[in-house]
């Protein structure tokens, strides 16, 4: 059983807000880091996907905030992937506080496949294979 990839990112001062905790929109940036590193884990990159003519804009994003992330915390970003029908892709994220192991937040993003002009595109074979590989590397739980 494989493990979903864990990327990490430190909370910057610029990520926090006047409540002294990370601003809620910034979690979506950490989600981006998670899915980006998942592409790298299967030997590619999201950039390569774009170079080959596919764009994966976000169609839906959801986050549940369980415990606040604070300045200088290290966030572990666990990411999983699954197909959603033939044309949609879903990434799941869990953000953990590195030192304590606490689950800070969890959520997902749903993506569609388009060409450079934003027109819907059937995911080409190379992309499908890359994403199927992402599904395979997962199965376990590697939360810190």
């Amino acid at each position: 059983m494989g493990a979903s990839f864990v990327a990490e990112q430190r909370v910057l001062y610029g990520d926090t807000d006047a409540m002294g905790i990370a601003y809620y929109a910034n979690y979506l940036k950490w989600f981006e880091i998670g899915r980006t590193e998942l592409f790298r884990l299967v030997g590619s990159s999201y950039q390569e996907v774009e170079v080959r003519g596919c764009f994966l804009p976000v169609y839906e994003a959801y986050c549940r905030y369980l415990k606040p992330a604070r300045y200088d915390d290290i966030i572990h970003i666990e990411t999983r992937f699954s197909f959603e029908g033939k044309a949609r892709m879903r990434f799941y994220y869990r953000l953990f506080h590195k030192q304590s192991g606490f689950l800070l937040a969890e959520g997902y993003t749903v993506h569609v496949c388009t060409d450079e002009e934003g027109r819907p595109l059937k995911p080409p074979v190379y992309l499908k294979e890359m994403l199927q590989q992402m599904e395979r590397v997962q199965g376990g739980n590697s939360s810190s």
Copy 2:
């Protein structure tokens, strides 16, 4: 029949990404503008709520992205409020492209009430009354 409040915001260069469209995390900032202006519509401000000892951190956030917002577009932010049980507050947002009237995105945020240390707090009377007033000003649809 009242109308939900419409705030507006122009898409900055700094809001866009290399896809040439607004980055998905920035929609949550526009949601913030929407709910902030709703507090002002009922004669108060979120700042006043904090000064009086209540904080309303985000517990859940969701956005569905229907059409891309682009550089220099003016976004109309329509916001509605409803209670969710006794202790949770839900704001609904619809973002419209000002000129065309197209719905660009819609979503919601769920908030809880806490004290300054982040401990759960039963919403005090003044906050409840303020939020009930928010519920009342709505009922219609003022989308551009």
Copy 3:
């Protein structure tokens, strides 16, 4: 004697940091709002400049932070323009606290003119005329 244009922007929660004041990088976004509105003041827009094939990337940016901007403050953004030699453009900014009139920050950005690929470009006539018009509308001081 004309007046330099004053745009305004409210400080969002997402603009603040754990120090309870606006994060220093966000002032550069407010600078962007200032220069964008200056293009509009002379009957054009930065977008139109791009559509006609010119890009004005930032070559230098400077900001001096005099008083902190806080959550929910309204910032008045005063912007002036001047040529710097033949190929560089300089925008000056002063950010004022709307209610008190206090000067919060001041700074500048220097821009160069390039084509879409980032290659240096001699500013075309229509751009020069637009920028000369920007120089002319100024001369006074419209700080709140």
Copy 4:
């Protein structure tokens, strides 16, 4: 001869703008990463400084943009420190493109020392010693 510390950060999609390059305000976030890691290099953290009652808000920030940083680039952040008189602290930054070694940008931030309320504070002994140590670890050039 010591070496100034090199932190690294990958350019996110959310860091880029419609010009396809990193948005100019985001360089100041990378500067923050640089100085934060310099505190860690001398065995402390900026957070600890705050816990002990000192805040170091930014008084000036400057950046010169030499070559654009692009999506997925890895940025090497070289940071140096020097005192500026008795009460001001200056951090210098150079951002390099990791793979090519090209200098992308350089700049500085000047900081003052204040208490939690933002009142000027003479830097206490522990902070002075920490910063003197920062000056000592430097002297060479560790650019990638």
